[in-house]
């Protein structure tokens, strides 16, 4: 944005100083990028007020959270473990957003993904180890994808809004698993049988003894690989072009011969597969069985992750680490400040992020 931009300035415009013309768009772009960071800062500030109201020292509390996550190998591993499903659900929500769809259903997709992974692993108990693992992973992805395809088809076929449908499907997923659990759970419990050894995803402390005791496992690596794959998909593939075109301007995409309905459905299926795979972190990597209610909001947090990560795969990874750290940090400070502080912080980050996004975009528009 250097030379040619200057010649494009409207003739006779009073603000035609060349330096201003090149510097302002850069400032504007910086403003837009700064929104998520500013949101985090403001949320932490608001959180500090709440901590002070509870009679504690905000700096000490935040210091404890930081120390818990980065100060010990175990804590670092816990942060990674908490961040892992958020990488998956953050990517899932981001892929939806890129197609112009709001996938609020990542929660249910992840939940079903974990359930399917456990069932598949148990069913494949007699098969060779790698088959157990691959089968369980495929089952998780397929269950998530199938569940997300429902709102995709309903949108493509009947124009039904995916937001309400994905919310409804979250509730239905909970009931569906509870119903199937009647046949799948161990007697008298709300958990499945333990999965066979071949389907277990190894913990990271096998290679990094410093993380000893923490449940961080190789699912994280799977998530990072999928982030790279998602980046290529969105910005280096024909399908990604179609997804972004449909998301940015469906009428123009249709004009270009891109089938909106099937692109939406494909994007939601991909989104659901990513979310479904997020379930394996807990089921295959940690507990080694499925337990009713395990998802605990990881799907909803994915929305915050995608928002702060600006729907960029790399941004999603960074944001997932941040929120993963927060949710582990909440446990550490619970004896001094209720750990629900973390839930509020997350909510505030979301509210500030969307508000500041508007404020900064407007400011940027004025600058340009």
């Amino acid at each position: 944005m250097t030379g040619p931009a200057a010649t494009a300035a409207p003739a006779g415009g009073p603000a035609a100083a060349p330096r201003a013309v090149t510097a302002r768009p850069r400032l504007a772009a910086a403003l837009e990028l700064a929104a998520p960071l500013a949101a985090v800062a403001l949320a932490l500030l608001a959180g500090a007020v709440l901590i002070a109201l509870a009679g504690e020292d905000p700096l000490a509390i935040y210091g404890s959270i930081l120390h818990a996550c980065l100060g010990t190998g175990y804590g670092f591993g816990q942060m990674l473990f908490k961040a892992t499903p958020l990488v998956f659900t953050g990517l899932a929500v981001a892929v939806g957003f890129r197609a112009g769809l709001f996938n609020i259903g990542a929660e249910g997709q992840l939940y079903l993904g974990g359930f399917a992974a456990a069932l598949a692993a148990v069913a494949l108990a007699g098969a060779p180890g790698p088959v157990q693992l691959v089968g369980a992973l495929l089952a998780a992805a397929a269950a998530g994808a199938a569940w997300a395809t429902i709102p995709g088809v309903l949108k493509a076929r009947f124009g039904a809004h995916e937001v309400i449908n994905t919310i409804m499907l979250n509730f239905i997923a909970m009931q569906l698993v509870a119903f199937l659990g009647r046949y799948a759970y161990q007697p008298g419990t709300v958990r499945t049988a333990t999965i066979p050894a071949g389907a277990v995803i190894p913990r990271l402390d096998v290679w990094f003894p410093a993380l000893h005791g923490s449940p961080a496992n190789l699912s994280l690596l799977l998530g990072l690989g999928l982030a790279l794959a998602t980046a290529w998909l969105l910005f280096g593939s024909r399908l990604g072009y179609a997804i972004r075109a449909v998301g940015l301007n469906p009428a123009a995409a249709e004009y270009g011969g891109i089938a909106i309905g099937s692109t939406h459905t494909a994007a939601l299926a991909l989104s659901g597969a990513l979310a479904g795979l997020g379930g394996v972190n807990f089921v295959l990597g940690y507990k080694q069985f499925f337990e009713q209610g395990f998802s605990a909001g990881a799907g909803f947090l994915g929305i915050a992750v995608a928002l702060i990560g600006r729907n960029q795969p790399l941004g999603v990874i960074v944001a997932a680490l941040f929120f993963g750290g927060l949710s582990y940090g909440g446990l550490v400070i619970n004896d001094r400040v209720p750990r629900e502080l973390v839930e509020m912080l997350t909510a505030l980050v979301i509210l500030f992020a969307i508000t500041l996004q508007q404020v900064m975009t407007r400011a940027a528009r004025k600058l340009r």
């Binding site: 494009a8 409207p10 990604g240 072009y241 009428a251 123009a252 249709e254 004009y255």
Partner: protein, 504 residues
């Protein structure tokens, strides 16, 4: 000067670094019709939106009846006796005429109840008084465009407007409807209403206005009583330079039938018939222009030909072969399509110029391996195209949304003219485009024609249709009601066909 009803003094309004109004002054005398003219983007609408309180100026002030006033919101403008008929009607479509007219000034009642009967009665009275016929109980979406415009004018009068601002009121009307509108406006002016008419059509200025103010690039560049200015003088003020005629050297049309349409029937979005048995053909090296008031099936016709809308009946042949279904397949079959609404259909504002240049051909194997689409290849391909089609700035990575209207249209033309297409569907190619870009686009279309392409042109600008076409068709209520050679007809005759008033 003290007797002016409206005086806007030294108004400046910026959007970011773009100056929409630059020290612009404007004076309206009571009981006169004042034309505010200029090219698209000259700042006419902005100036009037400032007057109506929809935008606040960064500098300057407004006087009404000689007194300085602050107009911070439309409510202030309405109280001061200003009324505005927007280019896109400000009507709540699922609601009735009476509800739309009363909105914001509902007939009073004790508990805040809505008194439908009283409101309907008021509308009947008002419409009788001004000779503007509407049914107060009709829902807006059931009304014709002309009737909706009458509702808009009545709405302003209902709020006791002494000053009526009309933004491009004739763009959506047939010539005869325009005559009717002008009759109403003259009557209102005689009764003392002052009228501002925003337009870029010189003929309207000449027939209706008492005064003219010309704007260019946000500034007021001239004006005065209509009698003191010639059409050429106004045109030159608008453009800033003498207007060159279109150099239209034409080769003879070929004989090969490129596009054959027979007995085509197409539905509109509400599943009502919009195209009712249309047949025509376009030969290689020929421009066929379709004139008509908007909403008479042209839109549905073009969308159907482009594969965006299914045909209910009839056949479409491209170079003698049945056209395959779907937009993508039509591109592959040798069609190109410049859509009517480039911002909505023709480009993706949030994508780069390079990406926009492959819209509709991102499946081209030359653009990447397998499922991949190589960003570097897109950029390399874009640069020479942007330069050839004079898209400025020629930056492949820039977002299309940052371009001006003319450059956006050149971007769309660059993409469509570089398709390997024997048939070009071109809708409203110069709408909202400045004169320089208009000339450029017309030139390119004629070149495409001379190179042997078949061009089907749809435009609501009769002058454009007449200037570019080898044959002119008129569409009315979904049918082709006349076919003429441009040399053998004129705007009056075509206008009669456009409103179905020509004796069949």
């Amino acid at each position: 000067m003290s007797s002016s009803v409206v005086a806007m003094r030294n108004i400046t309004r910026r959007f970011g670094t773009c100056v929409a109004n630059d020290d612009a002054s404007f004076t309206l005398m009571p009981g006169t019709i004042h034309a505010l003219v200029g090219e698209n983007g000259a700042g006419k609408t902005t100036l009037m939106r400032v007057l109506y309180g929809l935008l606040t100026p960064q500098a300057g002030h407004i006087e009404i009846d000689g007194r300085t006033v602050r107009i911070a919101r439309p409510a202030d403008a309405i109280r001061l006796g200003l009324g505005m008929v927007h280019q896109h009607f400000m009507l709540v479509e699922p609601m009735t005429v009476a509800e739309n007219l009363a909105l914001g000034h509902e007939p009073g009642s004790r508990f805040g109840a809505w008194r439908a009967a009283a409101a309907e009665h008021e509308v009947e009275e008002l419409s009788a008084r001004h000779g503007l016929k509407v049914d107060p109980r009709a829902r807006i979406h059931t009304l014709s465009v002309g009737a909706q415009q009458r509702v808009e004018i009545l709405k302003a009068l209902h709020h006791r407007a002494r000053v009526l601002i009309l933004d491009e009121p004739t763009a959506v009307l047939a010539p005869q409807e325009v005559d009717e509108l002008f009759r109403v406006l003259r009557g209102l002016a005689q009764a003392g209403t002052s009228i501002v008419l925003i337009t870029h059509k010189l003929a309207e200025v000449r027939t209706l206005a008492d005064h003219v103010t010309v704007m260019r690039a946000g500034r007021v560049v001239g004006g005065g009583p209509i009698a003191s200015l010639s059409n050429d003088a106004i045109a030159e003020l608008m453009v800033g330079r003498p207007v060159p005629p279109l150099a239209a050297e034409r080769t003879a049309p070929g004989a090969e039938l490129r596009l054959e349409v027979s007995d085509l029937e197409v539905n509109d979005d509400r599943a009502l018939p919009a195209v009712c048995g249309v047949s025509f053909a376009v030969r290689a090296g020929e421009v066929v222009g379709i004139a008509g008031v908007e909403g008479n099936g042209q839109h549905e016709l073009i969308e159907c030909l482009a594969g965006l809308r299914p045909a209910r009946a009839g056949t479409v042949l491209v170079s003698g072969r049945p056209a395959p279904p779907g937009a993508r397949a039509r591109f592959h079959a040798g069609m190109a399509h410049v859509p009517a609404d480039r911002l909505r259909r023709g480009m993706i504002a949030g994508m780069s110029l390079a990406e926009n240049l492959v819209l509709g051909r991102e499946d081209d194997p030359a653009l990447g391996r397998g499922p991949g689409l190589d960003p570097a290849r897109l950029a390399r391909r874009a640069l020479p195209l942007l330069e050839e089609y004079d898209v400025r700035p020629a930056l492949p990575a820039a977002h299309a949304g940052t371009l001006s209207g003319g450059n956006q249209q050149k971007l769309v033309m660059a993409r469509e003219l570089t398709r390997d297409a024997g048939v070009m569907l071109v809708a409203h190619p110069t709408r909202g485009v400045d004169l320089g870009a208009t000339r450029f686009i017309h030139q390119r279309l004629i070149e495409a024609r001379n190179a042997g392409r078949a061009v089907l042109l749809v435009s609501s600008e009769l002058s454009e249709v007449l200037a570019l076409s080898d044959r002119v068709l008129v569409m009315f209520e979904g049918r082709i009601v006349c076919e003429r050679l441009p040399a053998a007809t004129d705007e009056r005759e075509l206008g009669r066909f456009m409103i179905g008033a020509a004796g069949a």
